[in-house]
Symmetry: D2
Subunit: 145 residues, 4 copies
Amino acid sequence: MVRSAPRIRADYRAFQTLMTRWIDNDIYGHMNNAVHYQLFDTAVNGYLLEQGALDIKSGATVFLVVETGCQYFSELAFPDVITAGIKVRKLGTSSVIYDVGLFRGVADITSAQGHFVHVHVDREKRLPAPMCVETRTILEQLIND
Amino acid sequence: MVRSAPRIRADYRAFQTLMTRWIDNDIYGHMNNAVHYQLFDTAVNGYLLEQGALDIKSGATVFLVVETGCQYFSELAFPDVITAGIKVRKLGTSSVIYDVGLFRGVADITSAQGHFVHVHVDREKRLPAPMCVETRTILEQLIND
Amino acid sequence: MVRSAPRIRADYRAFQTLMTRWIDNDIYGHMNNAVHYQLFDTAVNGYLLEQGALDIKSGATVFLVVETGCQYFSELAFPDVITAGIKVRKLGTSSVIYDVGLFRGVADITSAQGHFVHVHVDREKRLPAPMCVETRTILEQLIND
Amino acid sequence: MVRSAPRIRADYRAFQTLMTRWIDNDIYGHMNNAVHYQLFDTAVNGYLLEQGALDIKSGATVFLVVETGCQYFSELAFPDVITAGIKVRKLGTSSVIYDVGLFRGVADITSAQGHFVHVHVDREKRLPAPMCVETRTILEQLIND
């Protein structure tokens, strides 16, 4: 297991503002480790919704999560306002690996960062389906080379 | 059981902006009924923190919840932005009954509304403790008569 | 607001075993007030599923929550095992009011208790729909007179 | 990113029974990816509590999470009962890497599996602290060589 160095805002390509909740703080007074994944999910899907790449209720295809991971560097806690940074590390035919970072307030280095892997599937059969050109174009804009 | 009419923004005295999360939507595609209480908690405690009436980590006293209730009028769902309206219905020596309403986007009538009852207690013994003058003053501003 | 007395197991008609999670404990070291509603939902829907009165994925009708409430008497906390007691207070044509109590471990009096109101609706239109005879029979068994 | 093969029960050394909740199912009708981490946390900390290696309220030391990860192979959903398998992959002086697998009902292969890294810290200063002999002995029993 290799420990990564915290990334900075310039490492990401899109940003979403997220808010913490009272219930996020666990008995140790900071945001519980599972909550970070609620924020990853919200940041990535929020971006896809904004861009028109996801229709939650009636799209013929949806994105399912097949792998996630997170490293925790410093505490986040309610009432922090958090900025999630997103970039695409790898874009496949029917899958995409996102890197996501969580920034506390105005900080320029992540408090936590991880990855989030989506597979694009047919909603009913849940089998991998190639992404359409429009979706690929949206995701290509998040590649940071 | 008497069903209330939805309230409007002018019925409340303080407001907090809250954001929904992907995970809030349950299998029916709307915010699960338990999430409304996460928002009530966040709105009330967020207000107390902003006003300096609550010190989460080191205050000698804290507020514990002894009763809550909610009526659901219309759906809320991710990615809605929600405004919580707060007012104080009754202020006792060591307890306070809040009314809380949740407004979807720019709507002027509540999608859901309820009450939230805090008892002010000694942090260690967890026995009721009278609120200090400063806290009472903050809460009196939320009384809407 | 009238404070109820805690009920006992004999006041309820059906029971569901529920388990707490690490994340349920908030900064005060006990189960956060919103979690009780996750348990109410799980107990009532779990009972309906067991009895065959609910088909989550493909039923033509579903139950939506229109009102909930809870009074908190004593702390629950991870790793407590909780028993939820359920009874039907009122059974209408297309709605049902449940009373739910949460018992810590082997305790015979509730740590928290509340109510939970379901409306039976058409899944697509989300308009009230009369319950069928089979569902009514299942719910009538929970009436405690 | 290398995709692992699903593990079986014999790959793990200790087991915890976990229950799903209504709210765990997201809009796609299965357990949301962030919930798996609530279960990892509950399984590992539940084991530590049972073994006497963790005193939530008054221990001088606690375990903080510094890294987690999960691969999702097949759906879990309410009302599934889940068994979490735990083993220790690596035991350091003040840290421990757990492997955790989630088994649906009586299945012998995991629906999801991941890792969970705890650092043992002084409760107040939150700096790494060597584990005592008793804790090491408890964790050594989870090493599967």
